[in-house]
Symmetry: C2
Subunit: 324 residues, 2 copies
Amino acid sequence: MNYILGIDGGGSKTVCVLMDDARQVLGRGEAGASNYQSIGIEATLKSIESAIYAAVNEAINITNAVRIEAICLGLAGVGRAADIELVKSLIKELQNSKLLPLTWDLQPANIVICNDALIALVGGIGHPVGIVVAAGTGSIVFGRNHQGETKRVGGWGYILGDEGSAYKIAVAGMQAALKAYDGRDMSTSLADAFTQHLALASIEDLIEVIYRRGWRVKEIAALAPIVDLAAAEGDEVANKIIDDAVQELVKATSTAVDAIFGPSEFLEVVTTGSVWQARCKIHERFTASIIKKFPHIKVIFPKYEPAYGASLLALQRLAGEWGI
Amino acid sequence: MNYILGIDGGGSKTVCVLMDDARQVLGRGEAGASNYQSIGIEATLKSIESAIYAAVNEAINITNAVRIEAICLGLAGVGRAADIELVKSLIKELQNSKLLPLTWDLQPANIVICNDALIALVGGIGHPVGIVVAAGTGSIVFGRNHQGETKRVGGWGYILGDEGSAYKIAVAGMQAALKAYDGRDMSTSLADAFTQHLALASIEDLIEVIYRRGWRVKEIAALAPIVDLAAAEGDEVANKIIDDAVQELVKATSTAVDAIFGPSEFLEVVTTGSVWQARCKIHERFTASIIKKFPHIKVIFPKYEPAYGASLLALQRLAGEWGI
């Protein structure tokens, strides 16, 4: 029996899926973050090792001889040749691990290293053709066509881009609340909403929270639901912010469609990330705009998680399919 | 002879002016930063002491008995009661300094502690009535009327506000360059301009520069001249960014005017900060918009520096004028 590992390494957690060649998931494990650019290579190795250990441990009940013939690692920010070399050396270290209750039979050709957008696409759609619109803390649009051509739009991070992300929605909400407070723009329930949620004496104390408590992108992005709720309750300013976010995501998606798909080619667009869980019908707004522009496109929620997508990629590499 | 000290304490330097009661400047000194929220109270005390030392040292040629009867300290971010208490204790420490070649005769009433916007207003206009539109690394609009009422608009920092600032112009420029690169928006000379200026292999490497080199607000804001130059050379996208910045500053100024001045009351609006030095006629664009809305307003460049404004405030406190 051939086994493969699919790994999704992200900024908050690492997920590993152990799959057989009949696409059966035999085990699944989670561990801490594995974005090596932030946390370093040692901590990343540990997270990946722990996630694999947890996945294999689950499978031990089914089989007691786990031999890995292919592996796919999808990691945020991996693109340049130097990154790929680094991740390869990381996989070598895994192969020497004394902790993992498995054996390896990895041909170099059966090691797949790619960015997190591709595994989200493959997991979300179930095969590697279509577009993924990821909108969580950050945002990125990534597409791949039948010929294997890819197109990335966005993904430039919280300062340079991330349009339509939870971070950008949260920041726009706070800016609107402060502009209303200044008397520069129309009033909005957002000022009260932030004040209450953060237990501030006044909306002016946002300065204290944002700059002096050392809040980072993730903490700020976690305030996006405040804007979502205000929009769902009919606040005009909040709805404008959500509409702007939707239009940014529609524009990025359209750019990817136009770049690599034919004018009336059928394709699926999968939406991933926390932004799509909003109560203010952000998914419906996005879908309506996309369908109006591209009636032949189907907007879907993910069929499977990214780690499952990574498993499929490893499996197809083993079978010599897909050419990825 | 009565002497007073006017001090401008900022994030990059501290300036001290020693003035007599005939508004004659007898000495001027500079030292390092004095934003105690970032650099701590010890370093702030040292900067202020050094700036005073330098100013008094210059005056020693004119007089060898310097006795200080009033002091005004204008510091960024000072507003809350706790801040003011802290700065008062700092002034007490200065009075005990063994380093300073001067004596003190400070009544508590002759100590003025205020934010940096007020001293910029008083220095810029020469008296404490009007509006200051500060647009440097950050941005803030601050006004004061004949009745002593004040109005602040903006000044919420680089995440929550700072519309029209060098930071926001630079970020908008990089975002536009990347959107053009993605194919999302119209092409612009900004992509080449950033690539050349930062010696990048590709505009994609902006990610490397902005996130991995640990660049902070000041370093990013220092890229605003790239956008300025592109706008001056006729780039449409860059000009749109500059126009947006101008409109944000006009809106903030209008809000302050409407809040504390009568509909056709004469007043001066003074512009301070690096943004106004741009080659792309940003000052002219701003002035044209303001005059169109408020024909009775005069837009001026600063008459004096903020430290001079602080001196005037100290002097007027001594004279019992102005009520500040």
